[in-house]
Symmetry: C3
Subunit: 466 residues, 3 copies
Amino acid sequence: MALHPDRLFPSDPATRAVARRLYHTIATLPIISPHGHTEPRWYSENAPFPDPATLFVKPDHYIFRMLYSQGISLESLGISRRDGQDVETDSRKIWRIFARHFHLFRGTPTRLWFEQSLEDLFGITERLNEDNADRLYDVIADHLGQDAFRPRALYERFNLEAIATTDSALSDLENHAALRASGWQGRVVPTYRPDFTVDPAREGFAANVAQLTAMTGEAMTWQGYLSAHRQRRAFFISMGATATDHGHPTAQTADLPQTDAAVLFTRIIAGQGSAAEAELFRAQMLTEMARMSIEDGLVMQLHPGSFRNHNPLVFRDFGPDMGADIPSSTDYVRALKPLLDAVGNDPHLTLILFTLDETSYGRELAPLAGHYPCLRLGPPWWFFDSPEGMKRFREIATETAGFANTVGFNDDTRAYLSIPARHDMARRVDCAFLAGLVVQHRLNEDEAQAIAQDLAYNLAKKAYKL
Amino acid sequence: MALHPDRLFPSDPATRAVARRLYHTIATLPIISPHGHTEPRWYSENAPFPDPATLFVKPDHYIFRMLYSQGISLESLGISRRDGQDVETDSRKIWRIFARHFHLFRGTPTRLWFEQSLEDLFGITERLNEDNADRLYDVIADHLGQDAFRPRALYERFNLEAIATTDSALSDLENHAALRASGWQGRVVPTYRPDFTVDPAREGFAANVAQLTAMTGEAMTWQGYLSAHRQRRAFFISMGATATDHGHPTAQTADLPQTDAAVLFTRIIAGQGSAAEAELFRAQMLTEMARMSIEDGLVMQLHPGSFRNHNPLVFRDFGPDMGADIPSSTDYVRALKPLLDAVGNDPHLTLILFTLDETSYGRELAPLAGHYPCLRLGPPWWFFDSPEGMKRFREIATETAGFANTVGFNDDTRAYLSIPARHDMARRVDCAFLAGLVVQHRLNEDEAQAIAQDLAYNLAKKAYKL
Amino acid sequence: MALHPDRLFPSDPATRAVARRLYHTIATLPIISPHGHTEPRWYSENAPFPDPATLFVKPDHYIFRMLYSQGISLESLGISRRDGQDVETDSRKIWRIFARHFHLFRGTPTRLWFEQSLEDLFGITERLNEDNADRLYDVIADHLGQDAFRPRALYERFNLEAIATTDSALSDLENHAALRASGWQGRVVPTYRPDFTVDPAREGFAANVAQLTAMTGEAMTWQGYLSAHRQRRAFFISMGATATDHGHPTAQTADLPQTDAAVLFTRIIAGQGSAAEAELFRAQMLTEMARMSIEDGLVMQLHPGSFRNHNPLVFRDFGPDMGADIPSSTDYVRALKPLLDAVGNDPHLTLILFTLDETSYGRELAPLAGHYPCLRLGPPWWFFDSPEGMKRFREIATETAGFANTVGFNDDTRAYLSIPARHDMARRVDCAFLAGLVVQHRLNEDEAQAIAQDLAYNLAKKAYKL
């Protein structure tokens, strides 16, 4: 199973040769990770990672959703239940279940990320299965105990130049503060994620807003609420943040008169808002956040279109983020118009759009990003962060939006050990795509090389101001 | 025109070599045909098939829709008119029209199925055209008269292991009964298709429900109606059925309180239901059928999204299934939620989803099937049962749902003679896809071989309990 | 940068060899350009084209939208402002901006069209950049001054057999008349585009209708209005027109009773129509135009689904057609039904459908065109008139609709000098697609050759009656 040096490259010899050459020029570039979900605590505490199951299986919804779909209970995988009922606690048993069903991941990116991590980090070149499960468990566990496998050492080993975490607007960023105080040179920056204080449909919304205004000394009014966000953003910026992130059910934006927005805020806070008013409030807040970005320079990211917690049984027993979020059809053309009408031509705004609806690439997103100065296209997200997904994105978006309206790669992961494998996959797939253009004489190889550098490094650094 | 042994394989030599090796290991596996539209009478009566035009042209809506689109009247193809007006009855003349326009099928799967059938069954290696039409007609007609070309002999020649027909819930399954009584060893099983007794928009719905309850001795009440379905399902199971099939305009499901459902049933039967109530009734019945499947073990198939009888002139003159059914945009994420909320985590349910809206593969179906234990993805259906359609399905669905959440191939055909060609096409296209993964080092060849076996045989057998 | 003879062909040697052979048989066929936006005045006046910037940059929304998306002002590109404020008038400076940002077009069809035009017409084999900008400007400017670069000479050099312009229903076609009177043998025909007299949402609609009825001596009534259109269509036919073209926000059609349509007309003209009534009026007019086409033989083209003038700031300052039109989700199955119910089976109608929503290719358009005798599929349009866009169209549409239900290529351009490059791209991409079918043994090479001829020449000539 040892990793093939030409993996993910087309097999046609002419194209493969070009892909290889392109890849060779970018393979070892530093990694910019401008959007992800690693824990700031890891870097500040720099404690060893726990056992293989706790590291690879329990926190990875790509893995346990597939196992669940084939009839394996979440309890048996050690996923905590909200009601405190017992779940499997023996990590070795959890690991064996994963090993026994590892074949389910054939053809998925999870398989590729996992195997590359195992080989690169632990020297494992065997395919995981029921028979070698215990042995590989021990190999991995032994490594994890070593200092070279602590978070900071891995940061350096991974050749990370900067990595962003995603942090609640209410966070005091204590781990980020501790990290900065520690003198360690790694660049770990927070990202302002205000969803829990912006989305009336989230549990505890009113309490969150109360906390937000209280911690900033602002009044619980529309203006106070906006000022509170401004203060929190300034605090995040002081801690290194360069971006915000917004996870919304839809891409709907609004630009209400401020007096109407104030009335809406009052109704929402009083718990009188309908579902439509909650949507309108979220929509309005995207435009407000865009205006704040113009003021303070934070790059704005929009991740819309996930139907969260689709499975009520799983939500009841295990909570959110349990592999039961499902994409749904997402409109951008009409939804973004109020925001774009207000600020779409402002050169100080960068709004990076993501999608879970691939039909929007060609029909909406590439045409929008190929026109509006503020818009950029984020890389393929979530279910589409995969070789075929990345290939489709480039094939569909490039002819209209070019490369300069895209922003390189996001690993978007909490699976820290897979970060190099994820960036490597993106670099390989992009080189394969570019090689295809070269051998079809649609691009010269020197240009493809320049673009490969942009996609692997420059664009992310520039778009995210890192 | 003799069939090329490498047809449908990529031309890149490395990929082709792998595809060939994979295909070689599965080419002669028995055929499982778990969903289709052959006539049970064929097997029970075992009479010779009629002439070439009646066999190949008149019953095949793929063929006559293309001819009609280019200005050829359905009458000239011998399609019966509802008003009894004359249509062409000379099969040879109909065949000549088909031959003269055979070029229209270039680039379509119909062309490939047809030519493979002609070569494999009749030894014909010429391309059909106006000049050889009569001669080929005679060759085919001669063969059809031989015993070796009767339905049962073909079943054996085709290496069929099991084939399912699709049968009205009201059917007495007399041909299935006769077949079982005959002592013949072929396995031909019915499938429970209740649409005509479940969909208030179908002609004769109330009469059908009356017949359903009468034939089971149940009352014409909501509970009697459900019991009648349970009885009929039990009868189908006793005759070998392992599955139900549901052809609905949308994928909408509902889970009303039983008292509300009873009221809705009463209104619908009284002819007082609106179009919205008809939709709600169909939606409710999908959930009821899912619950019955949990009890009795029948695998459930959902085929939604066809706008039936789009052309009123064709419908008036020729009736349904005349090539005028058009796919339309289909939502699954919201539509299936009531059913999934009710029974989506039940390990005893298998619900196989089909689609005519390819945008749902990546956005909705693969994510749903990659999470819910009850869900499986049916193969590309109808317009997408084609080399490019199958390729897109694998490219888009595999990275999220893997292979184990798919169910192998359905030929879904009434064109009995094309069954081996259809399964062969699917096997070839799947091997081509797998070979692509192998040469890109995304999968090892031993794994690809195991998957090829699953896709060609094991998955269908397991998913459909055949 | 000299153009590679194998550009746009797959790199696999077997496929490339077939593509080359196919292309060789069609490369020099005459060009039929049945839909486009060149100016009739160019042909009638036959004046030299102006400088390079005015020719290549200022009128091309593909070019300036990309530049604008990267922060370059439209004023600096010499795009006129509606308020008369100064914009850049120095063509050389505009050209330098374009040259400096030429790298933005990597991977886009604009790049390919531009470079092929430069090499074929001006012998330029350098890649445009900041350093050679002035020199290349001079080379082009020198050529443009020569008689061989005047519109009529280029028509002949381009091997055009016929080219259609697009003309307002209100146009007196004076340039077309002058051209016919001139004795020049080129075939430049008008196309009847009635949008400004059919769409109540367009500025000046009522005045346009008043002008339409006045110029035809008809009453300002529903019947007078329809008669006026009939008269204008007859006039266009007398000037050589063979087609109409309809650019609508949606594909909605309607078939109201004539009395209702008359009432609707009255309300609309009186300015009392709602947005929904405007949509209904446009919808009704598509069916009326289809009926007129059955009478007078004009081929009907429908271009729906563009959200026009999405950016209000750009619209206010620069007007329409400024690169701010964005595709949106488009339904055909339900939208076209009223028209198809009325006239869909009439052999005298040809309705060519275009789309900006690629999801409709497989789900709606190919199934519709593969059934209805009147329907044909137009080539990939606008954002999808590109190598990948054309490839997707063939891959998705062919298996259901075949080739005969498509109509060859439209260059759809006002960039006259790019016409040969655009047709060449389409021919190459089609040959590449056909070669893929041949090497996969899905089509014989003699058939592929016949189809290549159809796609490059015959189908356009036949469908558009040119």
